[in-house]
Subunit: 327 residues, 2 copies
């Protein structure tokens, strides 16, 4: 089976590719070929290097989508996007990459299928940014999408396109709305959501971390391992069970910052907790106040998608997957 | 004030233009100039013919939106669209006109505003086709949009664009989701929804009409006069009251086909009712079964939008506006 990952150089993309290389039958059929796409050339797993390619491609540039789809991948994971802050800062770039790039991909599949029978599964990484406040206490599966960012708007539009192209029989699409991924590996970054991971990852590595909000801030989380699991499950699932409502809020854990810190204390001790420095930042507090805090992701759970149920699990997964099992 | 109506040759467009000509101050400022746009040249009201133009323009053709917006209208009513059946039959044309044409219009406004300060009010005709079954008994203002037609998808996408362009301050947009307009004047047409009007309009004119569904079919209605009222009110309203959720389900009347017929009997007598011929059509019945039947349009009502509360009113409006007050 030929699998394409667009956005393969990103954090979740790399982990997904790692999973496919480590368990080539995980999608139900043996992965024999990978096409890994990103704006920078993504790394290719050694085991599949003979049959795989890793082109550096901007999906939104003229003709790129057609050239990619000419290789007729059976499963396409589309994770590539300009992130929220950049899509807000650069209106044109956000729409060009996040909307026009995705639409070009969908359209290339439709055109390819007109030439010769072709019906790939496509899994699209959407986001809880499709929702905008005010929210109910728990956002249900039928709550409307009123994004308050251009990024969220672009994701919501692509969800609609995905559902329509799927309904018309042009491909077999699923959109998955990811929770905030935690613990994000790597260096602290400047994303407004960065601190949710920083306050666990840095103390676990013996480093200081800054907490810019109060401990009673609630948010919606899943581990990187769960994120990979969502993509894998979406590629395997019997889509006749989903029906025409193809965009699903993924399950996650609704937790307080205080619960993150308590779990850190249980697993890594008081000293680790002591490395968290409180530096209230009104700008970050205001941004975070606009984010969803809790979902009732019933449809996705009923369809077999799973995530963590407490922060101890999330931290243990980080320790296993990133720290070789040791704190 | 310079007002542009795109889709000015259509049924609602013509009525809206008629209203603006008859009551030039109805939008709060005197209308001194009209630009009436459609794919066929729309008629210009005599009173404003000296200052007005009526270009035959396809909004989706290269450069059209820019040329139209160069005239810097203060208020833009955008009613132009490929209808549901055609957008389903011709996928490319539906997306080109309903999505790309509307996006080109929005983008032309943004670009014009970059050249010189410009902040028009734009009222976009959306549709209850943004919703797809299964529905709750009454669709509330926070129910999600899962269209089951390409037309509904295109409308839902334009709603998202309108909200984002408005949030970013590029224009002052409102999307209004119209109920089924009844009684539609003119000839019986082949739209699947045509019979809702045909069974009233034709008997009122002494003609036979065909009813292809049962009398217990429920649907969501407003008169053409209400439709014009929605557009006028949307152009006048203080949009700071609306907030960022710029797309509103318009109020309407939820009624059974049987209630239509009872009202016809009360107003035009048994003989008129006798002109309705029952010819059950399983294809139309199946299409209609997928349509929404009832809404709780609370936000729009609170914002001052109004519609009829019974079918007697809807029929009387038709008699006043189309039949010179006589049956």
């Amino acid at each position: 089976m030929h699998v394409m990952v667009i956005g393969a150089a990103g954090m979740v993309g790399r982990k997904l590719v790692g999973k496919l290389a480590a368990e080539p039958a995980v999608l139900g059929y043996e992965v024999t070929r990978l096409t890994l796409v990103d704006v920078v050339e993504p790394p290719v797993p050694a085991a599949l290097s003979a049959t795989s390619t890793a082109p550096a491609v901007d999906l939104s540039s003229e003709g790129s989508a057609e050239r990619l789809i000419a290789s007729r991948p059976d499963v396409i994971f589309h994770l590539a996007a300009i992130v929220s802050g950049e899509a807000e800062a650069d209106f044109d770039k956000g729409y060009r990459v996040n909307l026009d790039g995705t639409r070009a991909l969908f359209e290339a599949i439709r055109q390819e299928a007109r030439r010769e029978r072709y019906f790939p599964r496509i899994i699209f990484a959407s986001s809880i940014a499709v929702f905008g406040q005010p929210f109910p206490e728990k956002i249900g599966d039928e709550f409307f999408t009123t994004p308050l960012t251009s990024y969220g708007t672009q994701k919501a539009i692509c969800e609609l396109l995905l559902a329509d192209y799927t309904r018309r029989g042009f491909f077999d699409g699923i959109g998955i709305r990811l929770p905030t991924i935690c613990v994000r590996p790597g260096q602290p970054n400047k994303a407004a959501s960065g601190f949710f991971s920083n306050i666990l990852r840095e103390p676990l590595a013996g480093q200081e971390a800054v907490l810019p909000v109060d401990e009673d801030v609630r948010h919606w989380f899943a581990s990187p391992r769960s994120a990979v699991g969502f993509f894998v499950h979406a590629a395997r699932i019997d889509t006749s069970l989903i029906g025409p409502r193809r965009n699903l809020t993924m399950p996650g854990l609704s937790a307080l910052v205080g619960e993150e810190i308590e779990a850190l204390g249980r697993i890594a001790g008081k000293k680790a907790v002591g490395l968290i420095r409180r530096e209230p930042d009104p700008v970050i507090r205001a941004i975070v106040a606009g984010w969803p805090t809790n979902f009732d992701a019933r449809r996705a759970r009923e369809l077999g998608f799973t995530a963590e149920s407490n922060f101890d699990e999330i931290i243990r997964i980080h320790i296993e997957d990133e720290l070789g099992g040791r704190v």
